[in-house]
Subunit: 210 residues, 2 copies
């Protein structure tokens, strides 16, 4: 059995928002693509913003499951690679949110609040992990350095896709670019690492250089 219309609307909207940018996709475009009438679309959703909010809710649920600390033990570098990978994949899946983040959050109070919450949790989570790395003696950093670095990590994660889109103008190579974003974040903490790990990251640089 084919998926329910409501879900199809959300799926197609997500795909079109991601491809063209949310401001450039109208409810009529969505209806056209689905080969349903605009009226039908408005039977399922109050308005376009309602679609956006539902997609955002999907995103929030997924990203919340990614932002978690390894309990009961100290973190290691592999944990960070993994978590960055999961986070970037999820953000890529909902990249329309990040493409027009400021406009989206400034015009919609609900989105602003929820996104603010996600950012706050993310920074706290990164801070906790960095503290764990210090405790495990994998890295050395002061309290101020940890706090500043945690903020910088989240900022780079948040805007890596936008940054890349802005320089490149390349048509969606996707996963390759994500890899470079992850690497950039790792290089943020590289100078705090013990010599062995720091050197290891430096040799990896060749794989990611543009």
């Amino acid at each position: 059995m084919a998926p329910k219309t409501r879900e199809r609307i959300l799926d197609i909207s997500l795909a079109m928002f991601n491809e063209r940018g949310e401001p450039n996709v109208t409810t009529n475009h969505i209806a056209d693509e689905l080969e349903i009438s605009p009226g039908n679309l408005y039977y399922h959703f109050r308005n376009k913003e309602d679609i956006v909010e539902n997609l955002f809710a999907r995103y929030e649920e997924k990203i919340d499951r990614v932002i978690v600390s390894p309990d009961e033990r100290l973190p290691n570098l592999e944990d960070i690679w993994l978590q960055l990978h999961l986070a970037f994949e999820t953000m890529w899946e909902f990249r329309f949110i990040y493409r027009d983040l400021v406009d989206l959050t400034s015009r919609n109070r609900k989105l602003r609040m929820h996104f603010g919450r996600i950012l706050k949790r993310a920074v706290e989570n990164v801070t906790a992990i960095l503290k764990g790395l210090v405790e495990a003696e994998i890295m050395r950093a002061s309290r101020a350095e940890i706090e500043a670095t945690a903020t910088n990590v989240i900022l780079i994660c948040t805007f890596w896709l936008s940054f890349n889109a802005t320089r490149g103008a390349h048509a969606e190579k996707g996963s390759e670019d994500l890899g470079q974003g992850i690497f950039q974040v790792m290089m943020l903490i590289a100078p705090f690492l013990r010599d062995a790990e720091r050197l290891h990251l430096n040799t990896l640089a060749n794989n990611y250089r543009k």
Copy 2:
């Protein structure tokens, strides 16, 4: 004598774009605010995009004058503080560009090209300065670390305003927030510095903590 209409249009447009975001300001809004007719506005500019492009040209000229290396001598940390200050001030003056950067550059080829050029110059300039600091033995970093850090510096500069707008929802405190952005960039290079300078930056953290 009052400024020419053409210049007044650009000035008011810049102010309104910065305040409300370019997508949320129409040509009619601009004409209203200036108390001129829409027809008059279109006598001076072909279309709205033409206004945006002219404002961008103003920005490009200003920022180009900021992105310069200190010739004939090695750089020091004070050079970086100063240059960051000048760059952030200029970006703040044209913050509408950064608010909707992806949408703006993806829909306008000219803007995309010019902004790409600015980014490229900026990354090269930061790279040169970091190399200078290494040569002056103020910091220690590998080639790969310098390249990655230069990119991260520019990314943070580019999106600091957006990041701040996204978390805060605070109504334009302006200069205060810029200061924190500059600090965040400095903390990016802190771990590469000699102990004395690194410690100095760490003690400054208290002035910038949110």
